[in-house]
């Protein structure tokens, strides 16, 4: 097992050219995807490290691990790093960049150089964010609520704000690239109804990136201007209205959660279809529900502000619209479950993560109904209930989807197979650790423990649940470390991957693993419908797996 399996020497995008220039100046969408993979993994572990410190602090009611303002900086930067530098770029920038061109039979994205610029903007934003973290951090909460962020905090709000502002343009340009590529560069025969659902999901995500991100860009510009020049736009003492900031902030930040979850839904649709050997149940409904989520996602933002002092009547409007946006998500979950009916299901690692996604996203979605219910939201908002809800959707949903995607396409990306038994073990650990971490927080939330509390010694009865949660967090951390280990291991020692190890349908499985720089020798002609699994032989088990 430990001897390095020698991959047959064949030209592909990895061994085509070597050297730092070939990576830092590449315009090949696959190499840019790998650059993104490395940078977002770095930020994932920074954010994860902050999360562990927070959980350690909450092990005991009294604030005894770190000082109060250090704790405030920890949860602020945990939020900012995870949301802006991991969750939003993760699947679109890594799996999307790698796969969107290949899946539609194109040689590359529509604007390759803008794709590289998008990565450099991400790195510039990330550098500013790291500088803000290292030189003292930010203590305003990831939401930058005013007037705390504009006039009552003396931490690095301007640096972090500019970092996120620049990073916003990275996701705008990624979204722009995807929309133009899907419209303009589909291979002959690849009609809209033959597009893989992964592409539908990324098309919907790009709509949200394009139309939402500029609003937080301008909001952060106004916050930075207000902090430096003492204008009065959001400062009530100078006539401004803090609720205006919250409207502008959440107008982007709620659709941003759909940027995070829609790509994972695309991944799960692909994985579900492949490992049940079946066409996704109700393909058009699942595709249209991605677009519906992206569109309706823009109408519901003020359900984050029900108790913030907005008018009662507007709260009614946003609450009923929030229930409207829950329907497409429910449709997707039902369709995935129905896809398994009469399938021929095998439980490789990607399938385990996909099933985990469906389960946890169901709980995340259902608890969303608690928060959209006005009367209940008054009691549970800003408590650990809402923390548990969004972690179920983001960590249970988006990160599980990301893991499913990484394990499903790793053979195509690296040309190597990873050890599947380790993969399944890690999936199980992540599932158990996740539930142990975040399920107790639902109960904590309804008990009334407010979020962002450094010390809760006034209510020692919360400690039991917090200890469970911290225990879960450590298991989750182990679960996330394992894949990094065996992925790196597989780069060197993994069995060379065949072109189609899972017997999946899709143009990306018809090129070699890893693909050549221009993906296809000649542009493919598509004559089959999406997911025509009756014409694709299931993989013979022993030949497909590494160990």
């Amino acid at each position: 097992m430990a001897t390095a399996a020698i991959a047959p020497e064949r030209e592909d995008y990895l061994n085509k050219e070597y050297g730092i220039r070939s990576w830092l100046l590449t315009v090949d969408h696959k190499r840019i995807a790998l650059l993104y993979l490395i940078s977002i993994t770095l930020f994932f572990f920074i954010g994860g490290f902050f999360a562990l410190l927070i959980r350690l602090e909450l092990l005991t009611p009294a604030g005894d691990l770190v000082q109060a303002d250090t704790y405030n900086k920890l949860f602020t930067m945990h939020g900012q790093v995870m949301v802006f530098f991991f969750l939003i770029p993760s699947i679109p920038a890594v799996l999307g960049n790698f796969l969107v061109p290949i899946m539609i039979g194109a040689k590359d994205l529509a604007f390759p150089r803008i794709n590289l610029l998008s990565w450099y903007l991400y790195i510039a934003g990330g550098a500013l964010m790291l500088y803000a973290i290292l030189s003292g951090g930010v203590d305003t909460g990831w939401t930058f609520y005013t007037p705390l962020s504009t006039s009552f905090s003396n931490t690095h709000v301007v640096t972090a704000g500019l970092g996120i502002f620049i990073n916003g343009f990275s996701s705008i340009l990624t979204g722009l690239n995807f929309v133009v590529t899907v419209h303009r560069m589909r291979a002959p025969g690849m009609t809209w109804s033959r597009l893989p659902l992964f592409i539908w999901a990324h098309y919907a995500t790009s709509i949200v990136m394009l139309l939402g991100t500029p609003v937080i860009a301008v909001t952060l510009v106004l916050v930075v201007l207000e902090r430096t020049l003492h204008l009065g736009i959001f400062d009530p003492r100078l006539g401004g209205d803090p609720l205006l900031f919250q409207h502008l902030f959440w107008f982007y930040s709620h659709p941003a959660v759909y940027i995070m979850i829609l790509p994972s839904m695309g991944v799960v649709s692909e994985v579900m279809a492949c490992f049940t050997r079946k066409r996704i149940f109700g393909y058009t409904f699942v595709a249209m529900s991605s677009i519906a989520i992206a569109v309706f996602g823009f109408l519901v933002w003020a359900h984050h502000m029900f108790v913030a002092g907005m008018s009662m009547y507007a709260a009614l409007v946003f609450s009923i619209l929030s229930y409207l946006v829950a329907v497409p998500s429910a449709i997707k979950v039902f369709n995935w479950t129905a896809t398994m009916f009469k399938g021929s299901i095998s439980f490789d690692t990607p399938m385990l993560y996909a099933l985990g996604f469906v389960g946890l996203f169901t709980i995340g979605g259902l608890t969303g109904l608690f928060l959209a219910a006005l009367g209940l939201d008054v009691h549970v908002t800003d408590t650990y209930f809402v923390v548990a809800h969004f972690h179920y959707v983001m960590v249970g949903g988006a990160v599980m989807g990301y893991m499913a995607g990484m394990h499903f396409w790793w053979p195509k990306i690296s040309g190597r197979m990873y050890p599947d038994s380790w993969g399944r073990l890690a999936a199980l650990i992540v599932f158990v650790g996740f539930n142990l971490t975040f399920f107790p927080q639902f109960v904590l939330g309804y008990m009334g423990m407010p979020r962002r509390y450094w010390d809760y010694s006034h209510s020692p009865e919360f400690q039991v649940l917090n200890v469970l949660s911290t225990a879960g967090a450590t298991i989750l951390a182990v679960g996330y470390l394992l894949p990094m280990v065996y992925f790196l291991w597989s780069m060197r020692y993994g069995k060379p991957a065949p072109a189609n190890p899972w017997g999946a349908s899709g143009l990306e499985w018809m090129t070699q693993s890893p693909p050549t720089t221009f993906n296809f020798d000649e542009t493919p002609q598509v004559t089959w419908e999406a997911y025509d699994y009756e014409n694709i032989p299931a993989p013979v088990p022993e030949e497909a797996f590494g160990d």
Binding site: H183, L211, V215, L243, H247, F251, F298, L299, W301, A302, M310, S311, M312, Y313, A314, V317, F318
Partner: protein
């Protein structure tokens, strides 16, 4: 985009009407039209914007349907943001 470039005369006419509309809107502002001042100013501005978009940006003659969809949806999204936010700001004094 436009294979056949329409004659320069059309552009000069459009340009002329834009300049005229500019001085009209500046002039009308000094008249007292009660609540209609803002509405008139905005309609003139929208006419000017349409002239520029349709003729100068070749949206009317050469570009295909997708470009029109992108323009209309961007403007619609702006109206979503303005409209739904106003739902809060305008009704806030009623229910405190």
């Amino acid at each position: 985009m436009s294979e056949h470039s329409s004659s320069a005369k059309l552009y000069w006419i459009i340009w002329g009407s834009l300049i005229v509309l500019t001085f009209v809107t500046a002039g009308v502002a000094y008249l007292d039209l009660g609540p209609f001042n803002t509405i008139v100013a905005l309609t003139i501005a929208t006419c000017k914007a349409l002239l520029v978009i349709l003729f100068f940006m070749h949206v009317k003659d050469a570009s295909e349907r997708l470009t029109k969809v992108v323009i209309i949806s961007s403007i619609f999204w702006l109206l979503i943001m303005l409209g739904l936010s106003l739902a809060d700001f305008s009704t806030r004094t009623i229910g405190s």
